[in-house]
């Protein structure tokens, strides 16, 4: 019974999913990076002082606004969002695997992990 998740094609698919997520996000980050460096490459970097949540691209809505204006930083942040969602997609994928195996215990454990991560993603929004 426990063999299924260990040797099956599901493992393969899971590995490919992770790789795909990394490739897509790096490509988005690289495109955003070129635009950002083209527009701001000659400015001076300012990272010595931390401005916290006054920063320009620290929420999904701010990122979307930036994307509409083709801001390089917003595109980079979109790539990072894709990257953050890659392991989350993997967990969702595991859930499907446990569902196929009819392993109720692990379906429950997977949902708990998903709930904790969702909590983190949503809890952040109230702080802004």
């Amino acid at each position: 019974m426990r063999k299924i998740l260990q040797d099956d094609d599901l493992e393969y698919a899971m590995g490919n999913l992770l790789r795909l997520g990394v490739i897509i996000s790096s490509a988005i980050v690289a495109i955003g990076g070129i635009i950002y460096l083209y527009k701001h490459g000659m400015h001076l970097p300012e990272y010595a002082t931390f401005i916290g949540n006054k920063s320009m691209f620290n929420s999904v809505s701010k990122i979307i606004t930036g994307l509409k204006e083709w801001k390089g930083q917003a595109i980079i942040q979109l790539g990072i969002l894709v990257l953050i969602f890659t392991p989350i997609a993997r967990i969702t994928f595991s859930f499907i695997g446990f569902l196929i195996e009819k392993d109720l215990l692990y379906m429950l454990l997977t949902l708990i992990v998903l709930a904790i991560i969702t909590f983190s993603l949503l809890a952040g929004t109230n702080i802004v």
Binding site: R2, L5, R19, L37, N58, S59, A123
Partner: protein, 278 residues
């Protein structure tokens, strides 16, 4: 220094960090935070954010290769992820109320600890007696492939391992690192899992653990696009290069050198933390 030069220099540094991190198995994230803070004068909070993103990238990239080999114990990983993600969310909350110099000091200590773990000679005895009732209930025992065929192993001290993992998650959320050393320690020394299984399963969990605190960090403005650009692409590129060069011949020597470099960096972090230079 313009943004263009700044970005290129950090990219090269991250490339080297990713390369060495993948060759030695210590992970590139370790060098990123000291490099950004000590060399480039970046606020440690931005450095933590960039490091966390790089950790997710390298973990996901490497996991793709590991998962296919069938060594990763997915049930064990999922079970322990409950501990690591809870710890990570807590860590990210605590981070805001922790003075930056204290964070630098804790970071220095973790660096020394990780270097020590990587230098320590590990001897392993694979445990095969099925003693733990919890391990049976949660189906944590497994097998892994070797040249001589599948080897079965059992897991002990599930509760101890679970709580150490929560601690590893807490540090990951607090410092923006993968805290792989602590995860491997929990699995090797406490739960008695074979080394090969623990390293790959640890890597499998690192990305998820980091993703759990990434949301909180993003909203707090720790994750800056201009900094994540060279760090993420550099570390990822370096790790890719490293995995191409991965030959067993010289890695132990390299690992020793890298461990001492890390200890030197750790002392610098500790010194700056205690003299409140952050």
């Amino acid at each position: 220094m313009t943004i263009l030069t700044f970005t290129l220099l950090i990219f090269l540094g991250a490339l080297l960090a990713g390369f060495l991190g993948s060759l030695t198995g210590l992970g590139g994230g370790f060098v990123i935070i000291p490099m950004l803070t000590l060399l480039f004068g970046v606020d440690i909070r931005y450095a933590i954010g960039a490091s966390l993103v790089a950790v997710i990238a390298t973990s996901s990239g490497a996991a793709a290769a590991y998962v296919k080999e069938g060594i990763t114990n997915i049930r064990l990983g999922m079970f322990l992820e409950i501990a690591t993600t809870t710890g990570a969310v807590l860590g990210a909350y605590i981070a805001v109320y922790t003075p930056v110099n204290t964070i630098a000091i804790i970071f220095g200590c973790i660096l020394i600890f990780s270097a020590y773990i990587s230098l320590k000679k590990t001897s392993e005895t694979i445990q095969q007696t099925d003693k733990s009732r919890l391990a049976r209930t949660f189906k944590l025992n497994g097998t892994y492939p070797t040249p001589e065929g599948e080897i079965a192993y059992t897991v002990t001290n599930v509760v101890g391992g679970f709580f150490t993992m929560a601690g590893a998650g807490l540090l990951s959320g607090l410092l923006g690192v993968g805290s792989g050393a602590l995860k491997v320690l929990a699995m090797d020394n406490i739960m008695r899992i074979p080394f090969k299984v623990s390293t790959t399963t640890s890597n499998f969990m690192i990305g998820v653990t980091a993703a759990a605190s990434a949301g909180i960090y993003l909203y707090r403005g720790y994750i800056d696009p201009g900094l994540c650009l060279p760090v993420t692409l550099g570390v990822l590129g370096g790790a890719l290069l490293g995995s191409r060069f991965l030959t067993n011949a010289k890695t132990s020597k390299l690992r020793n050198i890298f461990a001492f470099v890390i200890i030197a960096i750790a002392l610098e972090m500790l010194y700056n933390g205690f003299t409140k230079k952050f």
